[in-house]
């Protein structure tokens, strides 16, 4: 048992023992350290002004992860080095990303700038994102808002600074940092505080199960991209916090022939390549899921466990036929994902029970998948309507194929992510190349859903859009080029586009 968290900060190991469970990393930096370079823009993880970089060991890899300090709790950075904007320049020389931002006029008011600099600093150090082109930069900074520049000079700065392989003073010190961070690794449970008020980070599934079983009123936190807002916006007091980030086994990804499984602490960023490999649309959905900083922290399990009616992954995972593994005490159970969502704000999860794993089956023969998200802004927005479609066609020929099986789920159409069972039934025995046979199914959506008006869209729009998305899926699975069916997220390369 360890009664403190340990971080690496400006070359020193810092130990924090008396911290409040809800102390955010941003408040630690600005109020405790008085390191005011990192800014608070929104305190909800949507603007990126508070971006800092965590340099950490993921397995054996030393990685640079940009995160939103405003909604990350201080306890969650245990074992990491925290790099902030003040740390980049050395001996009066700006870092290459800073210099590029200066040279290319990437700052105007300067308030978002530290966040952009840190996001670009992480990009500079990520070998997995090279070559860095405009599209990659846009994706990478989708979680950073700038209201002054119109982004063009910032993107140009990123392209200029990231053209070469990383070679800065941070690269030079990597062996030392790797050693120091390695020394900080242990398999101790962390418990800071008292039985009434604590931050705990169990190191094993057994310890987690036991702790949560005896404190079912505790708040489970994975990436804190949702729970963080309970603190910064609702000022909720969360006296007992259990963080999943140290639990060995929950970080595992199992990629088998028939299914891929994500442990509850697998982040969106880590899951993204596996989801993209399952289907291109799933990759695109994940790309449009919040911004980079959120995806670095948020987990697949958390997006399900919190039961949000607007969570973007659940409809896709339901259509894919995913199952959920839960555990309470020493009792595990498994259920189809769609059964987990009972009603608005209500899930099939007992007190003391936690999500352990999400299992997504891979595609069988003749199975096709599409999913689409409609939002006011393409990147880093929450969907007004999210539709996911899995069809199995008879035979190998697509032209004239008969639909043998359909699983369709929507988000934003009901209080929970929900299957369109009437529509699914109506699609069976219809033919993709005979639109007249499909109309009944398209109309059936109105029986499956009675959406509501809210700030994202009206009920009428939602139903209209849902119909349009079903038509689009049927057209695409029937062979239409996505260059003729969508405005972003094409499945074909540009060279097959119509003239």
């Amino acid at each position: 048992m360890r009664g403190e968290i340990r971080i690496l900060r400006r070359g020193e190991v810092v130990k924090l023992s008396g911290i409040s469970p809800t102390l955010t990393l941003l408040d630690y930096l600005r109020l405790t350290e008085r390191a005011t370079g990192t800014k608070e823009g929104c305190a909800e993880g949507d603007c990126g002004a508070c971006t800092v970089v965590l340099r950490r060991l993921r397995g054996e890899r030393l990685v640079y992860e940009p995160v939103n300090a405003c909604i990350l709790f201080a306890g969650q950075v245990d074992g990491c080095e925290i790099i902030t904007v003040e740390d980049l320049a050395r001996d009066g020389t700006l870092h290459p990303v800073q210099q590029a931002m200066v040279d290319l006029h990437g700052s105007q008011c300067g308030f978002c700038t530290p966040g952009f600099v840190m996001a670009l600093f992480a990009l500079y150090h990520r070998a997995d994102t090279r070559p860095v082109d405009r599209q990659r930069v846009n994706d990478w900074i989708a979680g950073n808002l700038c209201r002054c520049t119109g982004y063009r000079p910032i993107v140009d700065a990123a392209l200029a600074a990231c053209a070469e392989t990383a070679n800065d003073w941070f690269s030079t010190e990597e062996p030392d940092v790797r050693r120091t961070l390695g020394d900080l690794k242990d398999s101790e449970d962390i418990f800071i505080g008292t039985r009434e008020r604590f931050f705990a980070a169990p190191a094993s599934i057994t310890a987690l199960a036991k702790l949560y079983f005896s404190h079912p009123d505790a708040t489970l936190v994975a990436g804190s991209t949702d729970v963080g807002l309970w603190v910064t916006k609702q000022l909720r007091d969360l006296p007992k916090m259990i963080w999943l980030g140290r639990v060995k086994g929950l970080e595992e990804i199992e990629d088998r022939r028939d299914a891929v499984s994500f442990g509850a602490s697998v982040t969106l960023a880590e899951a993204m390549p596996y989801l993209a490999a399952l289907d291109r649309d799933l990759g695109e959905l994940t790309r449009r899921f919040a911004g980079t900083q959120v995806r670095m922290a948020a987990t697949v399990g958390g997006n399900i466990a919190n039961g949000s009616p607007i969570g973007d992954l659940p409809p896709a995972l339901i259509a894919l036929g995913a199952t959920l593994g839960l555990q309470r005490g020493d009792r595990p159970r498994t259920l189809p994902l769609e059964s987990y969502f009972l009603d608005y704000g209500k899930q099939d999860r007992a007190p003391g029970e936690f999500v352990r794993v999400v299992r997504i089956p891979k595609f069988g023969e003749g199975e096709h998948f599409r999913c689409y998200k409609i939002s006011k802004r393409f990147d880093s927005d929450i969907s007004a309507v999210m539709g996911a479609f899995k069809l199995r066609l008879d035979g190998t020929r697509i032209a004239g194929a008969r639909i043998a099986f359909a699983r369709i789920a929507f988000g934003g159409m009901a209080a929970i992510p929900k299957r369109a069972r009437t529509t699914e039934k109506a699609l069976i025995e219809t033919y993709l190349d005979r639109p007249d046979t499909l109309e009944e199914a398209i109309e059936a959506l109105a029986q499956d859903f009675s959406p509501i008006d809210d700030l994202r869209a009206s009920a009428k729009y939602r139903l209209d859009a849902a119909r349009a998305l079903l038509r689009r899926a049927l057209a695409e699975i029937g062979g239409a080029s996505t260059r003729r069916t969508r405005v972003v997220g094409f499945r074909e390369a540009a060279d097959v586009a119509p003239a």
Binding site: G37, Q99, N138, L145, C148, Y151, L469
Partner: protein, 771 residues
């Protein structure tokens, strides 16, 4: 001819202005060392403030139980209207903006008390413990509500040119329509923040993020009941403003000052983002009806429009904003006859306020829609209709009686048409649309003509203060505030040019009411125009003394003295600038001067609605292409070509930054940014999770910006033009391009597209033209 030659040789001598110098704080921005108000090292004993509001949009305050608030941990004081020694008001024009509600409730969340506590978290938590009782009244939320209820905040106002009713009746063609235009949240990245530090004798120093330090100073003095001279307001930089920190900074600065006066300790307030969005004013939304009469070629004969705006609960700047909507309802087009009316509607929502363009964009939208309507009715290319209606010789009087003297738009539009390859792309788009069902492309090329000057004439004045120290270093203050737009570097360039030294010799200091008094807001795009001249006049006064001194000391005539390259050339010899300064000091020459400037030529008579409200116009044009999914309403901007007129640029890098940033901000206003209010008056889109400003991928992949090459015909500072606001309106071309794409579905129908063009708004317009 000789004047032209003079200008050319003068142009060749310029060393510092015209250069694309970096923002003076760029290196600090990227290193995190640029200090914003919340970053100022906190004074000992600092207290933090949180505001508490009413849970209703209208009605009467029955009682406020603050017992639990006072008892909460860390609370030092709780303030209400009763604690204000002077006036409970921070209204800028009409005095109808209370710091605290006393009895009448005007909007949901309106501030009724403030908590002062040891930490910010304690203050925020304590503020939630109040019990506020209200007798809820009836209220108006939307423009429609206010029109139905006859709820006005200010009287209607009309410009009349000729007999528009008769001209409409005589027109060969007439079209009527209605356009709904949404508001816009500023979303400056740095929220409202103020730090007040009490001094001796009741003095107060306030660091605040505002575009209008003088107004803050005056309002705070009135509230504290102290002379204006007792209050100093200082602004080093803002983390964005866009009009949202002109009047809207006042309430928070007032709370900080009041708390500091009462507790005798430094006090800070920094709004949480959601509170900032719920409690501060935004761009006015408009509901505009129009009728346009035109001939067979599409030339406008008459325009009548009634534009009703959501002003919110108080007058704020709504009068001048609505005026500017009227000034720009012609945009770039000659209206032989016109009746242009604005209705300034009172709603129970935050008081809407200045926002880049200041009503101009909403007025222009009507003109641009009217042109599209004509093109649709006559089945003409909208660009041809636009060109036919531009101001020209003999067609050069605006509806408010101003002669358009510097009309460069016909040539500018022609150039943009060529560089954007408009005609060929139109044909390609038509072919694409013929072959595609779900996807349609659209394109539009729109001009912008924006009047430069405050339309409230007395505001067009500025002051500056320049000191030269004995080592030749230069200290510069002026009334302009830095919100990212680059005014500090531009004005520093002007001063450096005057002294013939490098710009980095000029130390740029925080804007302070103690240095330059009685300033106007940094607004109306006027900052560099007026403060640049004031600073040049200040520097010029010192330079003149130096020339007189050098002429005597070196026995040369003044015309043989030149300041350049950090030296002073005197006859056949030269000395370093610093050396001359040292000598001048020893010879007892004053090395400090103020400077003043007032914009010439302008006059305005509000009673007749005639005059010359603007010193000049800034022009531009943008051609935008979009791709629309007409089954879902999703839209992507694919290419934008901009040609914009900044006169002769003081700093082209800064100007291009303003053009790009302004365009993207305008694009957000017209596409993704949607303010949604609940029927009970609560703003539902009060955070970046629900209110979507553009992000990087929304910027078109092909985004070409060019500067129009031409001097300002008026004698502005180095013949430059203002650039802060005009580019925002270039984004109207995106909106028009979306309408163009939808129009391809049915050439026989007008497209009733409303702004913002969200997927839902686009789909609604699609359904209207295809039903």
């Amino acid at each position: 001819m000789s004047l032209q030659l003079d200008r050319r040789s003068e142009e060749l001598r310029l060393r510092v202005v015209r250069r694309p110098l970096r923002h003076d704080s760029a290196a600090k921005h990227v290193a995190g060392s640029a200090t914003f108000v919340d970053d100022i090292r906190e004074p000992e004993g600092l207290l933090h403030i949180a505001a508490g509001g009413v849970p209703a949009a209208s009605g009467q305050l029955l009682g406020v139980d603050l017992a639990a608030v006072r008892a909460a941990p860390g609370v030092v004081a709780v303030l209400t209207a009763a604690d204000i020694p002077g006036k409970n008001d921070v209204g800028p024009v009409v005095h109808d903006d209370p710091v605290f509600v006393e009895s009448r409730i005007e909007f949901y969340g309106q501030v009724v008390f403030a908590v002062v506590a040891t930490t910010r978290e304690q203050a925020r938590r304590a503020a939630k413990l109040a019990k506020v009782a209200a007798a809820v009244g009836t209220h108006c939320v939307s423009v429609d509500d206010a029109l139905a209820a006859g709820s006005h905040i200010l009287p209607d106002c009309t410009f009349r040119k000729d007999d528009s009713a008769a001209a409409l009746a005589a027109s060969a063609h007439r079209v009527k329509g209605q356009l709904r235009i949404g508001g816009q949240e500023h979303f400056y990245l740095e929220g409202q923040v103020s730090l007040a530090i009490p001094g001796e004798d009741g003095d107060m120093l306030i660091h605040t993020s505002t575009q209008h330090p003088s107004e803050m100073q005056h309002l705070i003095a009135g509230m504290l009941k102290v002379p204006v001279s007792a209050v100093t307001v200082e602004v080093r930089r803002m983390g964005g403003a866009f009009g949202g920190k002109e009047t809207q900074a006042a309430q928070w600065a007032a709370l900080a000052a009041l708390a500091a006066q009462i507790t005798g300790r430094p006090c800070k307030i920094r709004l949480d983002r959601d509170d900032d969005m719920c409690l501060t004013g935004k761009r006015h939304d408009f509901l505009s009806d129009y009728e346009v009469g035109f001939d067979a070629e599409g030339r406008i004969q008459a325009l009548e429009t009634v534009m009703a705006s959501r002003c919110g609960y108080s007058a704020d700047l709504s009068g001048a904003i609505n005026d500017r909507a009227m000034f720009h309802a012609d945009n770039a087009y000659f209206l032989p006859a016109a009746t242009i009316t604005t209705k300034r509607m009172k709603t129970n929502t935050v008081s809407n306020t200045a926002f880049r363009g200041f009503g101009g964009p909403q007025g222009m939208m009507v003109a641009e829609r009217a042109i599209d309507e004509i093109a649709w009715a006559l089945k003409l290319d909208p660009l041809d209709v636009r060109k036919r209606n531009l101001y020209g010789e003999g067609r050069d009087i605006t509806p408010y009686g101003m002669l358009v003297e510097d009309n460069i738009l016909p040539a500018l539009l022609d150039r943009c048409e060529v560089t954007s390859d408009y005609r060929a792309r139109r044909r390609k788009i038509a072919a694409f649309n013929a072959q595609n069902g779900a996807l349609k492309r659209g394109m539009a090329l729109n001009p912008v003509k924006f009047g430069i000057s405050f339309t409230t004439t007395h505001l067009n004045q500025a002051g500056a203060l320049v000191h030269v120290y004995q080592d030749g270093s230069i200290h510069l203050n002026h009334g302009g505030t830095e919100m990212g737009q680059g005014i500090y570097i531009k004005v520093a360039q002007v001063v450096a040019e005057e002294f013939g030294v490098d710009a980095d010799r000029v130390k740029i200091l925080a804007t302070s009411t103690a240095k330059v008094p009685n300033t106007s807001a940094t607004a109306a795009s006027s900052g560099s125009d007026i403060n640049g001249w004031a600073a040049k006049n200040a520097a010029g006064a010192i330079k003149e003394r130096l020339i007189n001194f050098a002429a005597g000391a070196y026995d040369v005539v003044p015309s043989q003295i030149e300041f350049r390259d950090n030296r002073v050339f005197i006859g056949n010899q030269s000395v370093p600038f610093a050396e001359l300064i040292r000598k001048a000091y020893l010879a007892r020459v004053s090395l400090s001067s103020t400077g003043f400037y007032k914009t010439p030529k302008i006059h305005w008579d509000p009673a007749t609605g005639k005059g010359r409200p603007f010193f000049y116009f800034a022009y531009g044009a943008a051609c935008s292409e979009v791709l629309v999914d007409v089954t879902t309403g999703e839209m992507k901007v694919q290419r934008v070509d901009i040609l914009h007129d900044v006169g002769r640029s003081l700093n082209p890098a800064v100007d291009i930054g303003q053009i790009e940033g302004g365009f993207v901000q305008g694009m957000g206003w017209l596409t993704t940014e949607e303010l949604v209010f609940h029927a009970d008056g609560r703003l539902l889109t009060h955070a970046p999770s629900t209110y979507k400003i553009p992000c990087a991928s929304d910027v078109p992949e092909h985004f070409n910006i060019a500067l129009w090459d031409g001097a300002n015909r008026e004698d502005t500072i180095y013949r430059s033009k203002a650039v802060g606001e005009p580019p925002l309106m270039l984004a109207i071309s995106v909106f028009a391009a979306i309408a163009d794409a939808i129009h391809s579905l049915n050439p026989d129908k007008a497209v009733p597209l409303d702004a913002p063009a969200t997927p839902e708004s686009i789909l609604r317009a699609v359904q209207a033209v295809t039903s």
